[in-house]
Amino acid sequence: MKILHKTDFPYTAFGGLLKDQHSVWIYQDRIEHNLSDKDAYVWNLEDAIQDPTIQKLIERTQVSSTHPFSTETFTVGVCIVLPEKSVLSKPVYVVYPDSDSTEKKVQTLILGSQFSKGTFVEIFESSSNTKALVQVEAHESSKITHVKMQMQNETTTHEGVTMLCAQRKAVVESISISLGGEKSQNFIQANLAGEYSSSIMDGIFVGREKQKTSHDTKICHLVGHTESFENYKGILTDQSHGVFRGRIFVGKNAQKIQAKQMNRNLLLSEEAQIDTSPELEILADDVKCAHGATIGKLDPQQLFYLQSRGIPQKQAYSMMIHAFVSEVVDKVADENFANWCFLKIEEHLHVSR
């Protein structure tokens, strides 16, 4: 498997979003990227996990846990390591271009060394069924953000597992935006393994027609003085069905932790469905946990107000949808990417201008 350093990519992909950005392209037989070694090392996954240094890095952070892909093997993938103190000024786009195979199975491993900082964006727009495993290991005082945009063809399925682990003073962040697929399932877990670490877990799921979309999330406060923030927004129309499960586990010795969870949902049709369930399991006794869930529709008063100023109904809808998701989308520091997300969400709901 060859690793090629390149600068001339087909940047027209995703509406030119990747132009002048860092990107890593993983094909069946090679990996191409434009990162310098100073910023990040790019490895073929199979080789990386044989490497004793990488093995040690993984072992140092990984907390044994099972997930839906525990017994599966992944052959195509990449391992990206941020060296100590490497702070990336731009997001890294990780792209798995479509191959001929009917099923796509890919794994991304991201290791953030001490004091490193970086954002990694994966976009899935495959026309084949996809299984995607992501592992993020954030070492002491690092901050790693993983953004996933799933906009696959609506005849496909998507199964995703994202496992995040934060060491002392590290921050792990997962933003999952799910638009595509006939059926998509995401399992996302954050292990807060070091004191003063924190996790941010945000997401948006949008369903239309007969789409089924689910997010099963789990945050484990394994030690004390850790914080977690979770905010999911669902928008469902037609006969679509959304599921949000938010589990928060606080271990027996994880005192003085703070956990906040929120899931808000908009139902835009009579037949759309949402199942939302917060599940808190708290074994420690000195903790602050808050959770909430709401289900509602677009406020007719707000719509009337916008329209009474001359704004056409479709544009008024789009402004209100924009307002609903902006809390999450605006967290993606890259403005081009955020605007592109807004556009894709509006297109998916047929409210784009």
Binding site: D299, Y305, L306, S308, G310, I311, M320, A323
Partner: protein, 258 residues
């Protein structure tokens, strides 16, 4: 004639609220519509603006000679009808400037005028905001989100000034305002009085009419206009209450409670 309402009957969820309204408003005129709670004042303003929860059962609304009964809310706005809300709606997440520019450009597009770019728009809106002593930072916030009562009403008048409507309906603009805020809002409204524009001021109390002096005063009761007069009618209502008109009996002397 700017507005002609002919025998208008309207209901909400099967309940009849307006029971035969006739109203003619000419260019340059300011009409006050007064009446006790539940008489149909707010329904009338919402029906003119086109809110779809109200059903027009009978009658016509002619705006500059065109029957607008079948027009959508946004079409009426673009034609030049503006409603200042009694309770301006808060919309967290939608920035005031983004909203105002989208609205102004939608109206301009409808009228075949060129749209304003961001710089042109910001220049215009800042000028209008300073006339109303509206803090510039409120323009950068979400629509009415966390605004005080006075700020919300000034934001409404700001929109009226921006959209330059042919007909402005002010629904209970005085509610929730202290006397200083009331004066600022009334000054803003008075600046916008023009021979090309008509206004309908809907109010429960005469207080607002000390500052915005109407040409015609109507009393609405149980879905009908039961009395029409000049400004002196408003003063008389303040002294005598609504009872003597609405049920024909002599009302007690009633000072409006604020």
């Amino acid at each position: 004639m700017i507005l002609e309402i002919k025998d208008l009957h309207a209901s909400v969820e099967g309940q009849k609220i307006l029971k035969g309204i006739n109203l003619n408003v000419k260019k340059g005129e300011v009409h006050a519509i007064m009446g006790p709670n539940g008489s149909g004042k707010s329904t009338l303003s919402n029906v003119i603006a086109g809110r779809d929860v109200f059903e027009i059962d009978q009658g016509q609304i002619l705006f500059q000679g065109k029957d607008v009964s079948d027009y959508s809310v946004e079409e009426r706005a673009c034609e030049g009808i503006f409603l200042s809300f009694q309770y301006p709606v808060e919309i967290p997440g939608v920035k005031n400037t983004v909203f105002l520019r989208a609205a102004l450009n939608a109206q301009r597009k409808y009228r075949g005028e060129s749209e304003l770019d961001t710089a042109e728009f910001l220049r215009l809106i800042k000028e209008k905001a300073s006339e109303l002593q509206l803090k510039p930072e409120l323009l950068q916030r979400s629509i009415n989100d966390g605004f005080s009562g006075g700020e919300k009403k000034r934001n409404e008048i700001l929109q009226m000034s921006l959209f330059n409507p042919t007909l402005a309906i002010l629904d209970e603009t005085d509610s929730g305002l202290d006397i200083d805020a009331l004066k600022t809002v009334a000054e803003g409204v008075n600046r916008l009085r023009s021979s090309e524009r008509a206004m309908i001021v809907i109010t429960h109390y005469q207080r607002l009419l000390d500052y915005i002096k109407p040409d015609v005063v109507h009393v609405l009761s149980d879905g009908k206009i039961v009395k029409t007069g000049d400004r002196s009618l408003a003063l008389e209502l303040e002294k005598r209450g609504y009872g003597w008109i609405t049920d024909g009996t002599e009302g007690k002397i009633q000072l409006p409670s604020m």
